[in-house]
Symmetry: C2
Subunit: 339 residues, 2 copies
Amino acid sequence: MLEERRLAVLKAIVQDYVATHEPVGSKGLVDRHQLGVSPATIRNDMAALEEEGYITAPHTSAGRVPTDQGYRLFVDQLSQIKPLSPAERKGIDRFLGEAADLDDVMGRTVRLLAQLTKQVAVVQYPSLARSHVRRIEFIPVTDHKLMIILIVDSGRVEQRIVDCALPLQEDLLAELRARLSVAVSDQPFSSIPARLENFDQEFPADARPLVHAVIASILETVTEKLDERIVLGGTSHLAHYNQVFAMSIQPVLEALEEQVVLLKLLGETADSQKVSVRIGHENEFAGLSSTSVVTSQYGKENAPVASLGVVGPTHIDYAGTMSTVQAVAQYVSRILSEN
Amino acid sequence: MLEERRLAVLKAIVQDYVATHEPVGSKGLVDRHQLGVSPATIRNDMAALEEEGYITAPHTSAGRVPTDQGYRLFVDQLSQIKPLSPAERKGIDRFLGEAADLDDVMGRTVRLLAQLTKQVAVVQYPSLARSHVRRIEFIPVTDHKLMIILIVDSGRVEQRIVDCALPLQEDLLAELRARLSVAVSDQPFSSIPARLENFDQEFPADARPLVHAVIASILETVTEKLDERIVLGGTSHLAHYNQVFAMSIQPVLEALEEQVVLLKLLGETADSQKVSVRIGHENEFAGLSSTSVVTSQYGKENAPVASLGVVGPTHIDYAGTMSTVQAVAQYVSRILSEN
DNA sequence: AGTTAGCACTCTCAAACCTTGAGTGCCAAG
DNA sequence: CTTGGCACTCAAGGTTTGAGAGTGCTAACT
């Protein structure tokens, strides 16, 4: 009985605060919600909630504001993902459906997410680490230079140029390509280092320099280039908080400029198809300690290839944002699998 | 005589205002600069300068602030590009010298520019429109799918996949590649549409579908993909102005998110090796009307391939910024020509 | 002529002060 | 356990005041 109402009060507080961005008091609560009790009773509940750390008062005589912990409880137990309206779904479908190549898909996705949520959107390119090599090709550029092209199943194409001490020999290249093809085709990137471990043993000694150079280059691509690509959008929405809310966006902008931070942000997405939410101080990075991050993975059912999401203030509309992120992730998954 | 001192006064005002970001008064001017006259005399000059529109007073009893027109005069006549210190040159050299591939060069450049100038940095990838095709290659992906790879002299590699109605024939492809090679190798992109105009005539009728598809795809790459790539960095520096100066960064962030705007910004760079400066309202876009843009082209001596620059407040350190932008552009040019 | 000192005037900024109102916590009664 | 009543607290907004910075003007000086 009492427990139940307290949760209802917390829910109402979060909803009101998200809507108005102003501390919410007991009077307003009973006005705007059918709680069936008087403000005084609500005050008692609020005192209890504050005691337990779910809400806090900015100062003696203001209303209450949810804490990170309060939002957490709200997200975990009190909010349900609301399905998008058919119109929204159709809009997403149409906008993303027009995309031509991978770059286009990523670009459109980030703009779409930013626009729908009115927040900063973050979209990661399909991760090489979780992709498979589809093909490998060589293009001799000059006598001593070879371009290696890796075609990846997610649609990405990686290329790299190798400098070789000795002139390239066509037949050797063909041989190398054939064997490499067998060795790495349709294999996950993560398994490639192991697969190429003793690869050079199959070749005669005089072919080793070239083989080594090529393998080294591939390994470099496979490991180094794993610093994935990320696109960002909607940063101008940040300026809004700055004015309305008294919070500096500098640290946030700084964090968003760091690829490393973004990668970790998206990388920490729970390994499930569900949407993941990190609230305020749950974020590892100090600069993001007053923001919430809503992410989801996309890709095949059980084999996500990357993540996307949005970064917003902690007083974000969790239900709406979560559903949008989830929907967009699903659409991107579908579009990618169609190619 | 009188003209000369007035200019000196304007110069001093700009310098002081850039340094302090506060309106500068007659008293402070004579204190900080050796003008050899009394404040009262300066006041007369200031009144004249205001009359002519070079400076303005925020309110009755504050000092003066340069107008866009004032900055313009300062940049054109009163400031000289100061050479970088050897230490700075060395720093640039070392940092950019480590770059591996084109992506790396661009990424490092934008970070470097942002860090050196403490402003938002904008770097455009070498423009395809001003590049030359170095090679063209085909990779059959499936029976009906062909990947076309364009290797560009600036280091970019463009790829595109063509869907073909008929199965691909190896010999036809080889033939096509050979002829295309002759037709477009070492030619500027801009000339390609013309060169491919009647290209299909050389082939037998039954080969036309494939030839058409390939040509269409190349033309598409050549024209559509011309929406160039641009990287952005140092946006967090914007937050600083927001706090110190009372100017909203929202419109600026919005403008910076629009590829189109950025492209135009960089595209308008004067066609010379010199640094170009656009001040305040000289910028076409309303969102950037309180910012200054300092850009320079980079590339070969007489054949620039793209532009880079920074976006900052109108009260930016023009001399320092211009020299930094110029130096970075030169280094990037050198590094690119080395490959 | 051009330059200077002197002076009255204007206007912003910051501090001090007051008032208002929202919201709380507690208590005693239902 | 709930509720109405009441005293209390505190932030926010408005007003007043004083100080300070800077200007424009005039009259005298070189």
